[in-house]
């Protein structure tokens, strides 16, 4: 098991190197120059040249790449071009917010999604199932900025129960987490419903029922555990999705997360900051995938990990 984890982590290195290269190349290829943008309309060409020189932006792409990778290996992510601030500090400001929001949204979509899916599967075509299915469709198709604003109007303006936005106490977390969770929740509910339905038709479930196992146990132990693999895969994918796709939610709810940091970096063509943020995302993806793979083995001993 440990060798398995170690090997997977080592494999992450070329992935991260590739990610850095692609980000650097993309920023190089798209039009727009960080320094000129930063200094604006009023800048003299000399000022632009001096700042570019100061930041080392006049060096060729490969030289900058090798230099950057070398510094990252020593734990130095550089200074953001626009703010002239260590990228590590910028990331440290935004990362906890993203983690908090992603975890909350993941918990909501996992718990509510699995619960709704199981109930739908146990009583298919019931009233609840109908409502849940229409609700899932709604959750999947409504854009986040729209649901977000509607939730703000209802729960912050009409019923003044929750704050309009910002980060802080638990009430601050409720609306953004729910908004962000809705599409994933819908997907998890649908996936759970179909896989549990499928498992409930299996012979061993009939056997379990025949030998008198309580229905509650049949569903919880025999059906759900066996239906869990696809749900887990989906949750793993969603975790990445929630983390990277939170920029709209962050914008609507003034949430100080990584998504907004990244968009800001892109508009300013601040490739140093952008690379730092992308590295964090890439690393998180690698770790989530690893965690999902390990969980497979725990849930289903037939899936063994051999070093």
């Amino acid at each position: 098991m440990l060798t398995f984890i170690a090997r997977r982590l080592l494999l992450a290195v070329p992935v991260l190197l590739g990610v850095i290269f692609v980000v650097m190349l993309t920023v190089q290829l798209i039009p727009g120059d960080a320094v000129a943008l930063m200094l604006g309309e009023h800048a003299t060409p000399e000022a632009v040249a001096r700042l570019r020189d100061y930041l080392g932006l006049d060096k060729p792409l490969l030289v900058r790449y090798v230099g950057y990778v070398g510094r990252v290996a020593r734990g130095d992510l550089g200074r953001s071009i626009q703010q002239n601030r260590p990228v590590v500090d910028e990331l440290a400001d935004a990362w906890p917010a993203t983690l908090e929001l992603t975890c909350a949204a993941l918990v909501i979509s996992a718990l509510a999604g699995v619960a709704a899916g199981v109930v739908s599967a146990v009583w298919p075509n019931s009233l609840f199932d109908g409502v849940a299915r229409v609700g899932s469709l709604f959750g999947l198709s409504m854009p986040v900025f729209w649901t977000g604003l509607v939730l703000i109007v209802v729960f912050a303006l009409w019923l003044p129960w929750l704050p309009v936005g910002g980060m802080g106490s638990l009430p601050h977390l409720v609306l953004p987490a729910v908004t962000l969770a809705l599409p994933s929740l819908a997907m998890v509910a649908r996936m759970t419903r179909s896989s549990v339905l499928e498992v409930l038709r299996e012979d061993y479930v009939r056997t379990a029922r025949a030998k008198g196992v309580a229905e509650r146990l049949v569903v919880a132990k025999h059906a759900l555990r066996n239906a869990a693999i696809p749900i887990l895969t989906l949750l793993g994918l969603q975790a990445g999705q929630l983390m990277g796709g939170a920029v709209l939610t962050e914008t609507v709810f003034s949430w100080p997360g990584l998504g907004r940091l990244m968009v800001k970096a892109i508009f300013a063509r601040d490739y140093v900051l952008l690379q730092g943020a992308v590295l964090v995302f890439a690393l998180a993806f690698v770790l989530i995938n690893l965690a999902v793979d390990i969980a497979y083995g725990v849930l289903d001993p037939r899936i063994a990990h051999h070093g």
């Binding site: 798209i30 039009p31 727009g32 120059d33 000129a36 943008l37 930063m38 200094l39 604006g40 309309e41 009023h42 800048a43 003299t44 060409p45 000022a47 632009v48 001096r50 700042l51 100061y54 930041l55 626009q82 703010q83 002239n84 601030r85 910028e90 400001d93 935004a94 900025f145 604003l149 703000i152 109007v153 912050a156 303006l157 003044p160 704050p163 309009v164 936005g165 910002g166 980060m167 914008t251 609507v252 709810f253 003034s254 100080p256 997360g257 907004r260 940091l261 508009f267 300013a268 063509r269």
Partner: protein
């Protein structure tokens, strides 16, 4: 509209102030001390140090902490700030007397050395400060004695006083900069009525009253600048009371808010002109008849009424009226909306109707390629499309290419520009005509050197703006700029569309606040809360 307010203690305005105080608009209310003012605005500062930040998100905050030598009041008059007086010693040297007994927030005394330190840091540092590019010929400061400092320029520089009254030229505490290093840019130390408390990235910046302020102490205990990127959410925060003041409010909601006694819409004509620019260096727009024909073809009133819905005023020239040297170009009289006139001028220039309704000359269609960004300035995309449709009515085709700002900007900045038209906005940051007329219309200021994106070239204009820049006589300068604008009005290389309004919405409990024509000057030194 904003209720007229006049800064008391300013000599020029004293007479008017006296009449305002007895006017029926009500006696001055008793000011209350205390409370926290919460402001919501869309973006976090880049930095709180003018060295790294000259854009509004940072300026709004540091303007209340860092004070320049001079300042510009709401009537655009230069007033003393850290300097109590000045004397022009020579065309390249101005002597300032500093206010005695002023201390920075960290206790360091304000003196000539601090002024020199601030200017050296900005102008001689590597890299130079962001604001160094805005400061024209400013070259440094020399210490004369503890409270006397000479500010020097590389060449005679008429706009020097307005430049030193710019929001971003605030004097910083030398000891704090030396002690904090890079950290200073996130926790600046100045002399202003508020001092820094905390900055949580992308969440808020908190300031508190400076109890040792040299002037009238601030009435508010604290000011919290919150980041709320979404326009709708900002307006809701104002309604729920989570915010007392909204910067960049939603224009569509302004009419309703100004009717509601719970809110006050503060507005003033601002310093930015948004325009459709023409590239005068290449055909067909090198022909002044074609250029002016386009002005006749555009119904600016319709654009203002239907697209901007009261959130802006018609542009009266290439400068905003608040700028020193502004002369009303009388565009509505010179170029009233008149399609027949436009067509006649185009016919005069040799353009005849083609088979597809577009004018043509020698087999060449009158088709203009147009570069624009969307969302850089209020309604810029909509305006571009409206003008495109209006030009079509007189047989001119405009092919508009909308690109993201960074991309558009790179094309503007480069030496070759392959479009005939473009949509842009321009703000005269130091409120002196030099800043715009020189950089935008001098023939040597074609990018990447300056911002003459129209590639306009007129030797007379070159002479005028050079002369005006070098003159220290403000009356003479005003005359020179007047002539410059008269020439520009005849040879129009812009279709000036609108002049921005600076609009701030507050809850009715916010008192003593006046919105400034310069968008960066958000002054909270006299603001108080009635609750």
């Amino acid at each position: 509209m904003t209720r007229a307010r006049v800064a008391l203690g300013t000599l020029a305005a004293a007479a008017i102030a006296a009449t305002i105080l007895v006017s029926p608009s009500g006696p001055a209310e008793a000011q209350k001390r205390g409370g926290t003012l919460t402001i919501v605005r869309p973006t976090d500062p880049v930095s709180l140090d003018p060295q790294l930040e000259t854009t509004a998100p940072g300026a709004w905050v540091y303007f209340n902490m860092l004070e320049p030598l001079l300042t510009m009041d709401e009537k655009m008059q230069i007033r003393p700030a850290l300097a109590t007086g000045y004397e022009v010693l020579s065309p390249t040297k101005v002597r300032f007397k500093l206010r005695p007994g002023v201390k920075f927030h960290d206790g360091t005394p304000l003196n000539a050395a601090a002024v020199k330190f601030t200017f050296d840091r900005a102008l001689r540092g590597n890299p130079p400060a962001r604001w160094a590019s805005l400061a024209g010929s400013l070259s440094g400061a020399e210490v004369v004695d503890d409270l006397t400092v000479d500010v020097t320029t590389r060449e005679p520089y008429g706009p020097i006083l307005r430049t030193l009254a710019m929001y971003c030229t605030g004097i910083v505490s030398p000891t704090a900069v030396q002690k904090m290093g890079e950290g200073f840019s996130r926790a600046p130390v100045g002399t202003g009525p508020f001092k820094f408390v905390e900055w949580k990235t992308n969440t808020h910046v908190i300031l508190e009253r400076n109890p040792d302020y040299w002037g009238d102490k601030a009435l508010l205990d604290r000011v919290v600048f919150k980041v709320v990127p979404e326009e709708g959410a900002r307006m809701i925060a104002l309604q729920t009371g989570d915010a007392d003041m909204v910067l960049l409010p939603a224009p569509a909601q302004l009419p309703a808010l100004s009717r509601d006694p719970k809110y006050v819409v503060h507005e003033v004509v601002g310093g930015r002109v948004v325009f459709a620019g023409m590239n005068a260096a290449t055909p067909p727009l090198d022909d002044v008849r074609v250029r002016t024909a386009l002005l006749y073809a555009v119904d600016r009133k319709a654009i203002l009424d239907n697209i901007l819905e009261g959130s802006a005023v018609p542009a009266r020239g290439v400068l905003a009226p608040s700028v020193f040297g502004f002369k009303d170009m009388q565009l509505d009289r010179l170029y009233p909306f008149d399609r027949a006139k436009a067509k006649a001028l185009l016919a005069q220039a040799g353009w005849t109707p083609g088979p597809d309704g577009i004018l043509q000359k020698g087999g060449q269609r009158l088709s203009l390629s147009w570069l624009a960004a969307r969302g850089r300035y209020p309604k810029d995309g909509e305006i571009t499309e409206a003008i495109q449709a209006m030009l079509k009515e007189v047989g001119v085709e405009a092919k508009v290419q909308f690109l993201e700002w960074a991309t558009v900007f790179t094309q503007f900045r480069s030496a070759s520009f392959n479009h005939q038209m473009f949509t842009l906005g321009w703000v005269t940051s130091n409120a002196d005509a030099d800043y715009s007329l020189y950089a935008l219309f001098h023939s040597k200021q074609v990018p990447p050197t300056g911002w003459n994106t129209s590639r306009y070239a007129n030797p007379r204009v070159d002479t005028l703006v050079e002369q005006a820049r070098r003159s220290m006589n403000q009356t003479e300068r005003e005359k020179l700029y007047g002539e410059t604008q008269d020439i520009l009005a005849k040879e129009m290389v812009w279709i000036p569309v609108y002049n921005t309004k600076e609009i701030v919405v507050t809850r009715a409990s916010v008192k003593g606040f006046t919105v400034h024509p310069v968008e960066y000057n958000l002054w909270l030194g006299k603001t108080w809360l009635d609750k």
